[in-house]
């Protein structure tokens, strides 16, 4: 049991959350961060689904890593990811239809998410299944929290709501407050993301010095 949560294993899980964050440091998965963060809810859904898929595709690729021919390894990884995503979406369609309808928009975005390929190539190909599982969960959550922060800022300032509930009181609108339409535009997610990276860099470099 102790071996399962050894220092290296814990590191595999915690590093992607901040120090080696897939979005902030490795700069992966930026395009989907742009596409799904206009509202908080799709950001959460996307974050969770990427976490699940990264974890399980990491495990599968890690299990078969020693058999994969080097020259076609990327194709094999892609097949594993695409098959996994398709099977999960079929299961959801049969047993949780509403969730699958919500997710259908993101299926394509999940398969092509660079975090998946990045983690498979950089981690799962050289590490054991359990470590790869932790790395997948960690990377997914590291991606998810960025999406949630960007989504929350954009929905709050752009629509005055969070998860569809009104947050900014009516009195503010009466006093002349106007929702910022710019926030619902894709470009703003890049600017917010830039601000997060800036704060994160400033904080981590100060700590490591």
């Amino acid at each position: 049991m102790a071996a399962l949560f050894s220092k290296e294993n814990r590191q595999a899980f915690t590093e992607p959350l901040s120090l080696n964050n897939p979005v902030l440091v490795q700069v992966l998965g930026i395009c989907s961060a742009l596409a799904v963060t206009a509202k908080l809810e799709p950001a959460i859904v996307m974050g969770l689904s990427v976490t699940v898929i990264t974890a399980f595709s990491n495990v599968i690729v890690s299990l078969i890593r020693k058999t994969i021919p080097n020259r076609i390894r990327i194709i094999i990884q892609l097949v594993v990811v695409a098959a996994l995503v398709t099977i999960v979406s079929m299961i959801l369609k049969a047993f949780a239809y509403d969730v699958s309808v919500q997710l259908s928009v993101y299926i394509g975005l999940i398969i092509t998410n660079c975090i998946l390929m990045g983690r498979l190539e950089a981690f799962a190909m050289t590490n054991g299944p359990w470590q790869s599982f932790l790395d997948g969960i960690g990377s997914g959550l590291g991606y998810a929290w960025i999406l949630v922060v960007v989504g929350a800022v954009r929905e709050l300032l752009g629509n005055g709501t969070l998860l569809g509930f009104n947050i900014i009181p009516e009195a503010c609108y009466n006093a002349g407050y106007v929702n910022n339409g710019m926030m619902t535009m894709p470009a703003m997610s890049m600017i917010i993301l830039g601000c997060i990276i800036w704060v994160h860099r400033a904080y981590t470099t100060k700590n490591t010095k």
Binding site: A35, V36, A38, K39, P42, K66, T67, I68, P69, N70, R71, I72, I75, I76, V79, A83, T86, I87, M90, I91, K93, A94, F95, Y97, V101, S104, V105, G108, E155, G158, N159, G181, T184, M185
Partner: protein, 237 residues
């Protein structure tokens, strides 16, 4: 003996085996779950049709009961406006027509007849293209064949927060009470760019930032409703 994983033979065999295994797996899961997911899709279609009649947020368990309560028949009409099939079964005739097959050349258009508070309504399915993928909708029309009673739109992959808002009730509510045709008898019900409504009897205000999806809805309305015009005119006589 250690396998040489870099040899050509190994690579080709490996790729072939992986493809066969994955194909078998996908086919197996798909067949095993087909009945369940088909039933879900049917239930969801009924929900969407009922939404255009103003019956929204129905629990999954109550969909069939609500369907039986409001829907009278699922007709099939041709592009000349004649009723081809009476559809007394409610979900065997018009309901079985895939929305992708609603085209002039197929000459079979589904119409759902409903009774809401004693009034007869006709629900017309529409299908079109959004910015990123298919969009579709249902327009409920009053017995006069001219006035919109309600509308429902949905999409497969429009942008969340922008084009995806055609699914929102506030947008669909704009259609209530609009006229399908203008004075010249052409289909005029449409969606215009946000804030550019000139004629409030037929034009609906678009969603800010979703002009292209709005154009898709407008094209779907004009093309789809044109197919139903002969039938709607017959209703009016």
């Amino acid at each position: 003996m250690k396998l040489n994983t870099n040899s050509n033979v190994y690579t080709v065999v490996y790729a072939a085996v992986i493809v066969v295994v994955v194909a078998f797996l996908l086919a197996f899961v798909s067949t095993a779950l087909k009945d369940r997911s088909d039933a879900n899709v049917e239930n969801d279609t009924k929900k969407q049709i009922l939404a255009s009649l103003g019956q929204r947020a129905i629990a999954d368990a109550d969909v069939q009961a609500t369907w039986d309560k409001y829907i009278v028949a699922d007709l099939v009409v041709d592009t000349a406006g004649n009723v081809v099939s009476e559809g007394t079964s409610k979900d065997q005739d018009g309901f079985r027509i895939n929305r992708r097959d609603i085209k002039a050349e197929n000459n079979a258009l589904p119409v759902f007849v409903a009774t809401v508070e004693g009034q007869t309504k006709y629900v017309l399915p529409l299908t079109g293209k959004g910015l990123w993928g298919p969009i579709w909708g249902y327009i409920a029309v009053d017995a006069d064949g001219k006035t919109v009673f309600g509308a429902y739109f949905n999409h497969e992959s429009e942008t969340a927060g922008l084009g995806a808002e055609i699914k929102a009730e506030y947008f669909q509510a704009e259609f209530v009470g609009k006229q399908i045709e203008d004075a010249t008898g052409e289909v005029a019900l449409t969606v215009v760019k946000n804030g550019k409504v000139d004629d409030a009897t037929t034009q609906c205000d678009g969603i800010s930032g979703a002009t292209l999806t709005g154009n898709g809805v407008a094209a779907m309305l004009s093309e789809g409703l044109r197919l139903y015009q002969p039938y709607l005119h017959k209703l009016n006589q």
